[in-house]
Symmetry: C2
Subunit: 403 residues, 2 copies
C-alpha cells in the first residue's frame, strides 16, 4: 500500500513526540507499506516566529513572512528523518520546493497550481520514507510560499492525489469525526465512514476538523482519507465519495454552532438591486452571511434580518451603516445571538421524511424555530441559545446516532 | 560603491541587535551604496538545533543535518529584511540556493563550486538591499548543503568576488586585527592595513580572526575586505594584496600560541621512509605536525621530536604507538608543552636583518630557543611557556609595533 500520513504541530510538538511519530511510521514500513509523511512545524514554533517578526515590523512583508515561517516545517522534516534513521528506517526529507509543490504568487495564502512530486516516487522505489514539509510551496520564480490555514492538510491530500496513494491519513489530536460534539452530546459516536459532502457540511457548520479547501481538493481528485488520532491506535473516520453502503445511513451527524449574531436592517428602500448591493458590500468586506431570516416589504420600505459569525458582527454593522448612508435610507442594529443546529447526511437525498421528523422532534420539545436553511444533504435551523444543547441531544437520539 | 557586509551570530543575536544591524545598513544605503548583506544564524540557534538532533539520533545523517541547520540563517534573513522595511529601506532576502551558491556534495563541510549570484544584480539595480543566508549552499541535485566552520565569511567573500564588490566588510565582535593579542601585550595596536599572507600566517599561528579558507578565497579572487566591529563605528583592519606601501612596514604583528605539545619518538629504526611513514599515519588521523625539533640518527636508531596541538596530543600518542608496533621498534612519549612565538610581515622579503634582530632580542632577555621554523614572511620559535609573555612583549617593542 502507498500511504500518505500527515502529522500536525501537536503530534510533533517535541523530540519525544517526534520519536513516537517515527515509531508509528515504522510499523507501516515493517508491514511493507510505502510511506510519504507530511509534517507541520512543532506547535509553538510558528507563533514564536510571528512574535519575533512583529517586534521588528508591525506589518511584515508577506514574502518575508513566508521565508520566515517555512523554517518551522523544515526543522521538523529533518528531525523526523533523523528519528527514523535511529530506528533503522531509511528516510529522506524534502522541502515543499523539493517535493515540487508549485503555487501561485499569493504569499501567506498561496494556492497550489501544480504538484510534480519531485523525486518522491524514485525515493519510495529505493525503499525510503519521504518526509515532506507541509504548509509550504514555491512559486514559479523560486520564492518560498505558504498555503495559509490548514495548509499542511492540503499538502498531504494533494501529494496523495498526485502519487495515487491508497489512503491519506490525517493524524490529529481527536479520534475522528463524531456524530455530534461529545462535549454537548454525551453519547456522540465516532463516525466510521462518511462522504466528502457530509464532512464539508459538518465543517462549515462548526465541527472544525479540517478546512473546507482540503476536503474539496480530496473530493475533486477522489482521495480517500482518514482522520485519526496520533496518540492512540484506534481507527478513525474514513472520508470518501458517496458509496452505496453510505446511503443506508440517513443522517450521519448533528452539528451545533453557537457563534451566530443576528443583524437587522430596518426601513431600507424596497427597490430592485438593494439586497444585491447590501450583500455585495458585505462580501467585499470578507463577511459571510449565513442565514437570511426575514425579508418583508411594506409601503416601499423593507426589513431584513440575517446572521453572521459573532466575530464579524461589529465589522458588519460598520459596513452596513455606510451602505445605508449610500442608499439614503435604513438603520442597522445587532439583534441578538442565536444558535444554529443542523443535521447532515447524504441519505437525505433518497429518504423522504427527514424534514418532517426533524421539525416534529423540535416541536415536541417546545423549541421555537426562528429560521430555516437547507441544502440537498443538510437541514439547519436558527434557535435561541438556551435551546441549543437540548436540540442537539434530542435530534441526535431521534436519528439513532447513539446506536 | 558596491559593499558586501557580513554579520556574525553575535551581531544578530536578538531582535534588538538585528534592528541595530538594519540601522547600520541604512547609513550605507543613505549615502548611495549598493549593499549585499550576508548573515549567520542568531547566536545559540545552531547549538539548540544540534542538541535537538542529538536527542533523536546520536550520529545524525549529514544531509539531514544540513537541512536542519540551514533554517537558522533562513530565519535571520527574513527578520533582517523585515527590520529594513520598517526603516523604509527596500530589501529582499535570498537563501543560499536562491543566491546561486552551488557546492559539491560534501554535506556539513561543502566546498563552493560555482556562484551565479541568482538575481542579486537585478535586485541591486532595482534599489534593493539583498540579504543572503550565509553558511549554506545547494548541490547540483538541489539538496541544501552547509559550508562548515567559517562558512558565512566564505559566503560573503565569494559573493563579493562574483559581484566585483568594492569592499567586503566582515562585522564581528572585535575591532580588527591587532599587532599582538591585547590580553598579552598591553600596548598592542590595531593594524590598519595588511596583506592576505600576513593574515593567513597570523591566523594559523593562533590569532584566530578568520578561517584560512576564506582568506585564501579572498586572495585568489583579489577581494579587498575589512574586519571590523558591529558594536561601534571605528574603522577596522583592511586586508588586501601586498601593496607597495605595505613594504615599508617590516613586521606587522607578533603571534603567540601557547597550545603546543612536544611528542618524542625514541629508538625508531633509522632507515629511509620511516619518517614519511610516521607523518603519513599522523596525516591520515587528521593531526597537523607543527615544528620538528630534532632528528638525530645513531647506531641504526633515531630519535625525533615534534610538536602538535595540545588537543591532538593523546590522539597522536595512540596513533604513533600503533606505528611503532608496525615498524617493530621505537617508543613514544609526550615530553611537555611549549609556546610558539612568531613575528609576521611581508616586509621581511625585502628587508634583511629581521632574523638577526629577532634572535638578539630573545637572547638579551635570556629566552632559550628550543626550535626554529621560518617561512618567507614569518619567523617562529618554540620556547618555554614561562617565557611566552615576555617574549611577545619584547618582540612587539623591538619591532616598533607599539608606535
Amino acid at each position: 500500500m502507498l500511504v500518505v500520513q500527515k502529522y500536525g504541530g501537536t503530534s510533533v510538538g517535541d523530540t519525544d513526540r517526534i520519536m513516537n511519530v517515527a515509531k508509528r511510521i515504522k510499523t507501516f514500513v515493517d508491514r511493507g507499506d510505502k510511506v510519504v509523511v507530511v509534517v507541520s512545524a512543532r506547535s509553538g514554533v510558528t507563533n514564536a516566529l510571528i512574535e519575533r517578526a512583529k517586534t521588528l515590523n508591525s506589518s511584515p512583508d508577506e514574502r518575508e513572512m513566508d521565508m520566515l515561517l517555512s523554517v518551522g516545517e523544515q526543522e521538523t522534516i529533518a528531525l523526523t528523518a533523523m528519528a527514523l534513521h535511529s530506528l533503522g528506517v531509511k528516510a529522506v526529507s524534502r522541502t515543499g520546493a523539493q517535493a515540487g509543490i508549485f503555487t501561485d504568487f499569493a504569499h501567506t495564502r498561496a494556492h497550489i497550481t501544480e504538484i510534480t512530486g519531485g523525486d518522491i516516487r524514485q525515493c519510495l522505489d529505493d525503499g525510503k520514507v519521504v518526509i515532506v514539509a507541509g504548509f509550504q510551496g514555491v512559486d514559479r520564480e523560486g520564492n518560498v510560499t505558504t498555503l495559509g490555514r490548514g495548509g499542511s492538510d492540503l499538502s498531504a491530500i494533494a501529494l496523495a492525489a498526485i502519487l495515487k496513494a491508497d489512503i491519506c491519513q490525517i493524524y490529529t489530536d481527536v479520534n475522528g469525526v463524531y456524530t455530534a460534539d461529545p462535549r454537548v452530546v454525551k453519547n456522540a459516536k465516532k463516525i466510521p465512514e462518511m462522504s466528502y459532502e457530509e464532512l464539508l457540511e459538518m465543517a462549515s457548520l462548526g465541527s472544525k476538523v479540517m478546512q473546507a479547501r482540503s476536503v474539496e481538493f480530496a473530493q475533486k481528485f477522489n482521495v480517500v482519507f482518514e482522520v485519526r488520532s496520533s496518540f492512540n491506535n484506534e481507527p478513525g473516520t474514513i472520508v470518501k465519495s458517496e458509496a452505496p453502503s453510505l446511503e443506508d445511513v440517513v443522517i450521519s451527524g448533528v452539528a451545533l454552532d453557537r457563534n451566530q449574531t443576528k443583524v437587522t436592517l430596518s426601513d431600507i428602500p424596497d427597490r430592485p438591486g438593494v439586497a444585491a448591493e447590501i450583500f455585495r458590500e458585505l462580501g467585499e468586506a470578507g463577511i459571510v452571511v449565513d442565514m437570511i431570516v426575514q425579508n418583508v416589504g411594506r409601503g416601499g420600505r423593507a426589513n431584513m434580518t440575517f446572521t453572521v459569525s459573532k466575530d464579524d458582527a461589529s465589522k458588519a454593522e460598520k459596513v452596513l451603516k455606510k451602505t445605508c448612508a449610500e442608499l439614503k435610507g435604513g438603520t442597522v442594529s445587532l439583534t441578538g445571538d442565536i444558535a444554529k443546529v443542523s443535521v447532515i447526511g447524504t441519505g437525505m437525498r433518497s429518504h423522504s421524511g427527514v424534514a418532517a421528523k426533524f421539525f416534529k422532534v423540535l416541536a415536541d420539545n417546545n423549541i421555537n424555530v426562528q429560521v430555516i436553511t437547507t441544502s440537498e444533504i443538510k437541514i439547519s435551523v436558527g434557535i435561541s441559545l438556551e435551546d441549543a444543547e437540548v436540540a442537539a441531544n434530542v435530534l441526535h437520539s431521534a436519528f439513532n446516532l447513539d446506536k
